[in-house]
Amino acid sequence: MAQPPPDPHFVLRGTGAAVHALHFSCGGGEPDIPVLFSGSENGFIHVWNLKTHRVDAALDGHGRKSVCGLKTMDGKERLLSQGRDQRICLWDLAEGRTSVTDSVFTENVGFCRCSLLKVAEGRWLMATAAKALEEVQVLELPSKTSVCTLKPEVGAKLGMPMCLKLWQGSCGSQPSLLAGYEDGSVLLWNLSTGKVLSQLICHQEPVMSLDFDSEKAKGISGSSEKVLSIWSLNEQQNLQVQKTHRLVNAGISDITIRPDKKILATAGWDHRIRIFGWKKLKPLAVLDYHTATVHSVSFSDHKSPSDRLLAAGAKDHRISIWLIYTQT
């Protein structure tokens, strides 16, 4: 008989609204306190101290509109937050400051989270959905200069971009963008030419989330249907479906592969977090704690593997923190 699934390591309460975005920043050395950023539907960003499990600060920068994406740029001092007020803000949190230093007005009304990729020291690329319905814009940060705008061919009928993932192969190679669209297809964009390299229709419904493992050139996507789709990128830069996994209940709102590429977690509309082995997509655990849709899952970037946490934020205002498969 298999062991029963574990309970949450601890639970963070008090956001006061549904949690939509989570981001860990635990990579610092010993004096540094590991923190978890959480973005809520009421527009607040909470900074959770993972030692005391209390809120260190609550940031209000999106005009009480839901916060849907959080990223850090080099440590926990510089935070990037994306809100439904169509703005992406850059926060300076060093030495107790809580001010917005810069912001980008995306004019996009969708739910698509932005994607951030560090391409060089002090240089980042950020992909966001643009004002026009089907377009994706890639900006360079911190200069905010536009790198390219990715427009699908006329008549492609992809719908809105739903999720984005910027990635770069081994060092020096060109960064590319994977984007999941409303019609269920995943596109691979070449950022330098602005052209589609490959298109894969892997779902019947909008692609809600995707993650990509650039080492294995293999990715996974989830949609509002009952299926997870695993696809790979071959040497000819073609995306191919490798296998599909059928879920018990429909709807996946977020997928994250753990940084060590061993396991992945999905956030389900059925209130459950599912853990799979990444190599074969072997189902490992179903974590049933939340009482409403889980919106976001995130793995911590702790240096020591045994401390690595999994956080899940849900519509029931709670953030559950789990310690799972840390020994491997």
């Binding site: 298999a2 082995g277 072997k282």
Partner: protein, 809 residues
């Protein structure tokens, strides 16, 4: 010269035992005479008498007498030798004569003999001689065997002799070809006679396995050889034509070869035409698909013959679309005819189809109707496939018929017949066509194939071990059994809530939950369920699928079974009365039957007693697949029961001890059984069991068989058995084989369930009648399953008889 021979023969005298000097003198004179064919009548007669005396003499002649038989004219020598075989007397002849005959064969004298006979065809009085020699040539193995009392040498076994004869025939044909090229007229009619007689004696395989490959090669580009071949088959007398044509059709490696060998035989010869267009297609059905392809391909290859092809197709379609043929002919024949139709269609060209489109359409409509009417799934599918094919052929641009059926190997094979119109001549040779070249070429190919397969199997494990390295095995999964479908609404807790939701609610989620919960609710609260049992049964019987709920039919059925087992008498009364009432669909009526059977099984099963649920799942030997509802499941269940039972009878008491408990079915069997058997012969306006609804009748009969079986050891069993025997008797000549199969299952159930003493005391006469009917079925029924079941029944009866004999009362 002839005079010298004559004087030598005279000197040898007519005595019974010529001396060595006489033999020597005759040999020398023969050698001097030169061509033995030039001998005059008188010399021939004398020489013949001399040889006969030599072979029939009381003791072995001295000197080189054997050579004399090889040197003298072959017909005389052959006659003398076979004469002495035919009148056997013990003595020296027993081993010696066959030895001489063997030498005679080995030195090619047989070819010389046939050759000579061919050339003398026009001589007066030759007919009788020919017939006598023909008989001896063809029946030589029998003659030798009879003469030696079965101890004939290997060379005279039919398997050895007929290929030799085939070789001799070929040799003669070569001579014929040479003399034709030399401008001489030649007759092959004697060879045709040999061929015909050999074939009619059933030795097609031996002789044609030599002739066909060689003739195939020779006729490839030589029109003289082709004409010889055509002439050869045309000269075969009508009484042997069938055997020869059958042999060629079965052994030719392809339609084009057949066409070269036979020419336009079917157009010229009525008998051959009958064999090819009627007998092989409509009267017989044992040939392989390759033979069919040969035959129809042959018809399609020549303009004169194509008219026959169309005629054949029309006749085939007539049979295919005749409802009587569909009902009464065995499945194998129907498959054969379907194949032939498909092959015909593949050969037809656009203008030909155009000319008979209307007829094709008419037969297709009729045929598809009577096939879909059949209660055997294989026949229904056969009809669908053929109809689809015809429709796709006649409507090249319009809409075509499409059916839904299971795509298995058989369906694919049938469909492949329709597309391969072109590959004439590339057909692989038949397996029993012993072409040495092909055989010699085969083994290396096979070997390389084998190598490549082993190579691939070697690769596989490598890949797998690679995969194992890359697996998630180090991660041990947690228990995931709680990962169930998320329910939007809560399942109802009370049966009355369920009823409310099922009858009135518009909330589809609630409705789904109620359907899912009902069975367990009924089982949990039998008391509450009994209060509303009939109402519940009514609701469930009329329940229709509102949403596309997975496994709806199964859920509903389980709930129905639960209701019926909880409150059996009123619900069984309700269901059985509804089976015969107005305005139900066939599906609902069959549901009633299914539910009755499942409930009866649950009640009669000892494990079903008490609070144990789902007894069905615990019964290991029988699987019920109520959803598919195909006839096979029913039959299989009954068969398995019979089989297990039969074995037990033979072995005695050896079954595993089963948990015991009171049989709940005891008091209920009658309530399940009798209402069902009562009204079958009263047609309603919407439901006519004895008429077109014979499929439901088949299900009813099977249901009765299962109920009867389950009623074993109950009080009512004898009365039930009696009623059922009468029922079987009334329906025994039903045209539908599915119904007949059910009836035979009923008989098995009766034999197994009713105690033997009661059987003999109460229903002796019925039993005897049934027995004679069973014997009839075993012999005459066109359906193989029926014959098998009837045989099993007879065995059961035998066992019963034995049992009674061994245990005298």
């Amino acid at each position: 010269m002839a005079a010298a021979l004559e004087s030598a023969l005279q000197a040898a005298g007519a005595g019974p035992c010529p001396g060595a000097e006489a033999v020597g003198a005759v040999r020398a004179a023969l050698a001097a005479a030169g061509d033995p064919a030039a001998l005059g009548e008188r010399e021939r007669a004398r020489l013949g008498a001399f040889l006969r005396n030599l072979a029939a003499g009381p003791e072995e002649p001295a000197g080189p007498w054997r050579s004399l038989f090889l040197e003298s004219p072959p017909d005389l020598a052959f006659c003398a030798l076979t004469d002495s075989l035919a009148a056997p007397r013990p003595g020296w002849r027993l081993p010696a004569v066959p030895e001489v005959l063997e030498q005679f064969l080995r030195q090619g004298r047989l070819a010389a003999l046939i050759c000579e006979l061919c050339q003398q065809h026009s001589r007066p009085g030759s007919v009788e001689r020919h017939d006598a020699l023909l008989g001896r040539i063809v029946c030589l193995p029998d003659l030798v065997g009879n003469g030696l009392q079965g101890r004939s040498p290997a060379a005279f076994f039919p398997q050895r002799y007929f290929p030799v004869l085939g070789g001799a025939v070929l040799q003669v044909l070569h001579n014929v070809s040479a003399s034709l090229r030399g401008g001489l007229d030649c007759s092959v009619s004697f060879i045709s006679h040999i061929l015909g007689k050999v074939c009619v004696h059933g030795r097609q395989k031996e002789i044609l396995s030599v002739l066909v490959p060689h003739l195939t090669d020779l006729t490839k580009s030589d029109c003289i050889w082709q004409r010889i071949c055509w002439r050869l088959v045309e000269c075969v007398p009508d009484r042997w034509m069938e055997a020869v044509v059958l042999g060629f059709v079965q052994r030719a490696p392809g339609a084009d070869v057949l066409s070269r060998l036979l020419g336009n035989l079917v157009v010229k010869n009525k008998k051959a035409q009958f064999v090819v267009t009627q007998k092989m297609l409509l009267l017989q059905y044992g040939y392989t698909t390759a033979v069919l392809q040969n035959l129809l391909g042959y018809l399609a290859l020549d303009g004169l013959r194509r008219a026959l092809l169309i005629k054949v197709l029309q006749e085939l379609l007539e049979t295919w679309s005749s409802s009587s043929a569909v009902k009464h002919s065995p499945l194998e024949q129907q498959q054969y005819i379907s194949k032939a139709i498909l092959i015909c269609l593949s050969h037809l060209k656009e203008p030909e189809i155009e000319s008979c489109r209307q007829e094709l359409l008419t037969s297709m409509m009729e045929g598809v109707k009577c096939h879909l009417d059949s209660s055997l799934p294989q026949i229904r599918r056969l009809g669908m496939i053929v109809a689809e094919s015809i429709s796709s052929k006649i409507n090249t641009d319009g809409p075509v018929l499409t059916f839904q059926y299971e795509e298995d190997d058989e369906a694919r094979e049938l469909k492949s017949l329709l597309v391969q119109a072109a590959p004439l001549g590339v057909l692989p040779g038949l397996p029993d066509n012993e072409n040495e070249n092909a055989d010699a070429a085969l083994p290396p190919v096979l070997e390389s194939n084998r190598k490549s397969t082993t190579a691939t199997t070697h690769v596989m494990p490598d890949e797998e071990s690679d995969a194992e390295l890359d697996s998630d095995d180090d991660l041990i999964p947690y228990d995931m059994s709680e990962d169930k479908e998320l329910k939007k609404t809560k399942a109802p807790v009370y049966i009355r809530d369920c009823i409310e939701v099922l009858t009135g609610s518009e909330d589809l989620d609630k409705w789904e939950e109620a359907v899912k919960a009902l069975e367990s609710l009924v089982r949990k609260n039998p008391v509450a369920a009994r209060e509303v049992s009939v109402e519940l049964a009514k609701i469930l019987l009329h329940l229709e699928e509102k949403t596309c709920l997975e496994g709806f039919a199964e859920l509903r059925q389980k709930a129905q079974v639960a209701v019926l087992t909880t409150d059996p008498i009123p619900v069984a009364q309700y269901l059985t009365s509804q089976f015969y009432s107005l305005n139900y669909s066939l599906r609902q009526r069959m549901d009633i039957l299914d539910v009755l059977v499942l409930a009866a099984r649950e009640l009669s099963c000892p494990k079903g007693h008490g609070k144990t649920k789902h007894s069905g799942a615990q019964n290991p030997c029988i699987q019920f697949l109520p959803e598919s509802g195909s006839s096979k499941d029913w039959r299989r269940i009954v068969d398995e029961r019979i089989k297990s039972k039969t074995r037990r009878f033979a072995k005695g008491q050896s079954q595993v001890e089963q948990p015991s408990g009171p049989n709940e079915f005891n008091s209920l069997a009658g309530h399940f059984f009798f209402p069902l058997i009562q009204n079958f012969d009263r047609p309603l306006s919407t439901f006519d069991l004895l008429g077109e609804d014979h499929f439901v009748l088949g299900r009813l009969v099977h249901t009765l068989a299962v109920l009867m079986y389950l009623a074993v050891n109950t009080m009512a069993v004898t009365a039930m058995g009696k009623a059922l025997l009468e029922f079987v008797w009334a329906l025994r000549f039903h045209t539908d084989s599915y119904v007949r199969q059910g009836l035979l299952s009923c008989v098995s159930s009766i034999l197994l369930s009713v105690p033997a003493e009661r059987l003999l005391q109460d229903v002796t006469e019925e039993l005897l009648e049934t027995r004679s009917w069973l014997e009839d079925v075993v012999e005459k029924d066109p359906d193989g399953d029926c014959r098998r079941l009837a045989l099993q029944n007879l065995l059961l009866m035998e066992n019963l008889k034995k049992k009674l004999e061994t245990a005298p009362s």
